[in-house]
C-alpha cells in the first residue's frame, strides 16, 4: 500500500459510514464491559437486524468515551443532528434507542439516561490523544484510517528525514508521559545518534500505578494510534523492531493490539517496506506478568528479555545500551499516542497547548471521591480546582476536599491550599508530588493521611524487587513504622526515624521505585504533620479511620 491507496482506503470507509443514517457507538472498553456493555451491544445489533434497519443503522463497538463510572455508555450519531450520549444503558433500552433515533419516535423514558454534552466534563477537555477514542472501532484498521490514521506516518516517510522527525518532536516540546517528564525530542535524538546496528523502540504500557489506566484505555480504544507513533519513532531513530510491553492485567488491550498489528502488517503499514518505502518496522507484544518495578525502564528491558525484572544501574542509559545491548528508545504508550498528531498537524500547533515548559495535553484517570470519575484529557496547566470541581463535578455527599493524590506510589498528596496551582511537571514537583503516569485520586475528609501513606508504602514494599538493600529493607521498616503510627504504638522518636529513613531510601536506592517510594510519606508529612502527631500523641485519628488496636504498647511486639 502506498499513500494514494491509503487515501482511497479512508475514502471507501467514509463512504461506507455515510451510507448509514444513524450510527450507534457503544463503548467496549474494560469498565463498560464490566458494567454490561457486551449485552447492550448485542441487544442493539439484534434490534437493528430484527427491525430490518441494517442498511440505515450501524452499531459500532468503540473504545472509551470518558466517564467510566456512568457506563455502559452509548453515543448516537444521527445525520443532521447533535450527537446524543446515554449513560447506564441496559440491554432493554436498545429498542428505545432505535425507536427514538432511527424511527424518530418519541421515547420520553430515554431522557433520564441522557448525559448532557455541554457539561464541563466534556467542554473543559481537549482531546488530542483521545481524539478517536470512543469514535473509532479499535478492532478495525479502516475505522482509524478513515479518521486520517497513518497519514502522519506516510508523510513522515515521504517528506521528512529521520532527523527532521526528531526535530519536529523536539520543537513540539512534548515531554515523556510516563512520569518523569524527560523531553522526548532529546531522547529521540540521542537514540538516533547512538551507534549501534540494531536499535529498538519500546512502548511502555506497564502501567503499574494503582489508579492509573490511561495507557490501558489508549491501547484498548485506539491501538493503531500507538502503533503509528511507534512506527514514526522507529523511522526517526533507525529502529526496525518495536515492542509494546503490556501489563499482564490488561488482556483486552493485548488482544486488540495484537489484532491491530496483524491488520497493519497485512496492509503494509507495518512489516517490510512500509507504505512502499525502504523502511521496515516490526512490532511485537510482550506481556508483563505482574511486577510494578517493570515500569522502570531498565527492569522493563530485563523483562522483555525474559529475565527477572530487576533494574540495572544507569548509566549506560537505554538510549545508548538497551535491549540486547542496542540503543533503545523507551517511551510511554501515551507519549507515542501524541506522535501522529504532532507530525500530522505540526509541532507549532501542538505547542500551542500547555504551559511554557510543559506542552500539549495530559490524560488523567480521575477517580476516588469525586462525582464524575473517568478518563479525561486536559491541556497541561489546568488547575486542580478545574479538574476536581468542574470536570469532576465536585465531591459527593457534601464532604470536604482533603487532598488529591497524583503519581501513585511515587507521587504525593496535594492539599486544598493548592487547588489553584496550574498542573504541570514543575509545579507538581514543587508541591512534592509528580505528574506520574496520570492517576488522580481525589480524597475527602474520610481519608486518613498516615493510612494513605501506609497504603502506598505497603505497595512499594510488595513491589520492591529486592536487588538493592535500601529499598528492600527500607520499605519494610518504613511500613512497620507507619503501621505503628496507625496502630497507636509509635513514639515521636519513631517519626524521626521514619523521616531519616525516607531521606536515605530516596537518596541511595538503585532505581526510581525505591528513590520515589518515600514521596507519599514526604508529602503527607509536609501538609498533614498534625495528623501524624495526633495519631502518635493522642491516639486520635482525625479522619476516623484508624482504630489503634495496639494502643499504648511500647514495642511492636505483642505480649503473649
Amino acid at each position: 500500500m502506498d499513500r494514494e491507496e491509503l487515501k482511497a482506503l479512508a475514502q471507501v470507509e467514509l463512504d461506507q459510514q455515510q451510507r448509514f443514517r444513524c450510527r450507534i457507538l457503544c463503548c467496549m472498553s474494560t469498565p463498560c464491559i464490566s458494567s454490561g456493555a457486551t449485552a447492550v451491544f448485542e441487544a442493539l445489533q439484534d434490534a437493528i437486524k430484527g427491525g430490518q434497519l441494517d442498511a440505515e443503522v450501524e452499531a459500532v463497538a468503540t473504545g472509551c468515551m470518558g466517564p467510566c463510572s456512568r457506563g455502559p455508555l452509548v453515543t448516537v450519531k444521527t445525520e443532521g443532528e447533535e450527537d446524543v450520549i446515554y449513560e447506564h444503558v441496559t440491554a432493554d433500552l436498545a429498542m428505545d434507542i432505535l425507536d427514538k433515533h432511527a424511527r424518530k419516535a418519541s421515547v420520553p423514558s430515554l431522557d433520564r439516561v441522557v448525559l448532557p454534552r455541554d457539561i464541563p466534563f466534556f467542554s473543559k477537555q481537549v482531546k488530542i490523544v483521545l481524539a478517536d477514542s470512543g469514535v473509532v472501532d479499535p478492532e478495525r484498521l479502516e475505522s482509524y484510517v478513515a479518521r486520517g490514521g497513518y497519514t502522519a506516518l506516510a508523510n513522515a516517510l515521504r517528506e521528512m528525514t529521520p532527523e527532521e522527525v526528531c526535530e519536529e518532536i523536539s520543537k513540539s516540546g512534548i515531554r515523556g508521559r510516563g512520569g518523569a517528564g524527560y523531553p522526548s525530542g532529546l531522547k529521540w535524538h540521542m537514540v538516533r545518534k547512538a551507534p549501534g546496528e540494531r536499535k529498538y523502540v519500546v512502548a511502555n504500557g506497564d502501567e503499574g500505578d494503582p489508579g492509573a489506566y490511561m495507557d490501558r484505555t489508549l491501547m484498548e480504544s485506539d491501538p493503531h494510534r500507538v502503533l503509528e507513533g511507534m512506527a514514526i519513532a522507529g523511522y526517526a531513530v533507525g529502529a526496525e523492531q518495536g515492542y509494546v510491553y503490556v501489563r499482564g492485567e490488561y488482556p483486552l488491550a493485548a488482544k486488540r493490539l495484537e489484532k491491530a498489528i496483524r491488520q497493519a502488517e497485512r496492509k503494509g503499514l507495518l512489516g517490510n517496506r512500509i507504505l512502499e518505502s525502504p523502511f521496515n518496522f516490526r512490532i511485537d507484544i510482550r506481556m508483563g506478568a505482574g511486577a510494578f518495578v517493570c515500569g522502570e525502564e531498565t527492569a522493563l528491558m530485563q523483562s522483555i528479555m525474559g529475565r527477572r525484572g530487576q533494574p540495572v544501574p544507569r548509566p549506560p542509559y537505554p538510549a545508548h545500551k538497551g535491549l540486547w545491548g542496542g540503543p533503545t528508545l523507551i517511551n510511554n504508550v501515551e507519549t507515542f499516542g501524541n506522535i501522529a498528531a504532532i507530525i500530522g498537524r505540526g509541532a507549532e500547533w501542538y505547542a500551542s497547548y500547555g504551559t511554557e515548559k510543559s506542552k500539549g495535553t495530559k490524560i488523567f484517570a480521575l477517580a476516588g471521591k469525586v462525582v464524575n470519575t473517568g478518563l479525561i484529557e486536559v491541556p497541561i496547566g489546568i488547575t486542580l480546582r478545574e479538574i476536581v470541581y468542574e470536570i469532576g463535578g465536585g465531591i459527593p455527599g457534601n464532604k470536604a476536599f482533603k487532598a488529591a493524590q497524583t503519581g501513585g506510589p511515587s507521587g504525593g498528596c496535594i492539599p486544598a491550599d493548592y487547588l489553584d496551582v496550574p498542573i504541570d511537571y514543575e509545579s507538581l514537583a514543587r508541591l512534592g508530588s509528580i505528574m506520574g503516569s496520570g492517576g488522580l485520586i481525589v480524597m475527602d475528609e474520610t481519608s486518613c493521611m498516615p493510612d494513605v501513606a501506609k497504603f502506598f508504602m505497603e505497595f512499594c514494599m510488595d513491589e520492591s524487587c529486592g536487588k538493592c538493600g535500601p529499598c528492600r529493607g527500607g520499605t519494610v521498616q518504613m511500613h512497620r513504622i507507619l503501621s505503628k503510627i496507625t496502630d497507636g504504638c509509635a513514639t515521636m522518636d519513631d517519626l524521626k526515624k521514619l523521616e531519616e529513613l525516607c531521606l536515605m531510601v530516596k537518596e541511595t536506592s538503585l532505581c526510581g521505585l525505591g528513590q520515589t517510594s518515600p514521596n507519599p510519606i514526604y508529602s503527607t508529612l509536609r501538609y498533614f504533620r498534625a495528623e501524624y502527631e495526633a495519631h502518635i500523641k493522642d491516639h486520635h485519628c482525625p479522619a476516623g479511620v484508624c482504630t489503634f488496636p495496639r494502643k499504648g504498647e511500647l514495642t511492636f511486639n505483642k505480649v503473649a
Partner: protein, 240 residues
Amino acid sequence: MPVVTLTINDKLVSAQSDKTVLEAARDAGFEIPTLCHLEGLTPRGGCRLCLVEVEGVPRLLASCVTQVQEGMVVRTETERLHNYRKMMVELLLAERNHVCAVCVMNGHCELQSLAAKLGVDHVRYDYLCPDLPVDASHERNTRDPNRCILCARCIRVCDEVEGAHCLDMMGRGIHCNIITGMNQEWGKARSCTACGKCVQVCPTGALFKKGSSVAEMEKQREFLIWILDGRDKKVWHWSR
C-alpha cells in the same frame, strides 16, 4: 588505554579511562566499603554501600559501576555518606537473623567487620526475624539463608566463573532468597559441581564448609583472579 585525571577526596588521581571510580579510589589508597562487589565478578550495584558524591551530579553514584571521567570531583567519605552506610548496614542486620556469636564466620565476616568499622553498635530498626531453614543436604557445604545479605556473589561466581548456574535468586523484595536448582535441596541439585567457589566468595556465614564450627571458617578469594586471568590471558599470578 587513555588515562584520565580526577579528584578523589581533594587528591588528584589518574586512572585508565575504563576503570571505575571504586577501582581508582582503591588504587589511590582510599577505602570505600563494599559488600556485593568482588573483583573478578560482574559489578552489580546492589548493596549501595559504595555510593559516592560526585560534584555536579545531584544523585549519589555507586562507585562500582561508575566509570571515571576526566575532571571528575569525587568524595567518598562525607558525613552524609557515612550515615547512609550505617543505616544500610543496620537494615541488613535487621532483615535476617545475623547472630554473630554463633556464626562460623565470627571474626572473619565482611558484614560484621563493616558494621564495627562504621560504628554500628546497635540496630535502630525492628528485627524482622524471618523463619528460614538451613540447607545442610550438600555433602561439602551448608547454606544458611539466615546470614545471607543477597549480594549475589555466589550466583555470579557460579554463573560467570564455574559456568554451572546452579544458584539463582527467587522471589522478590524482602522475600528474595538464594536457591539451588529448582529450589530443591542443594545436595540434590545436580547442576552443582561442588566446586565450592560460592562458599569462598560469600561475604558472610551464609555459605560455609561443612564441619566448621563457630569462628572457624575463613575464606580465600585469590582463586578468582587466578582463574580468570589464567583463562583469559594465560597468566597465573603466583604473587597474589
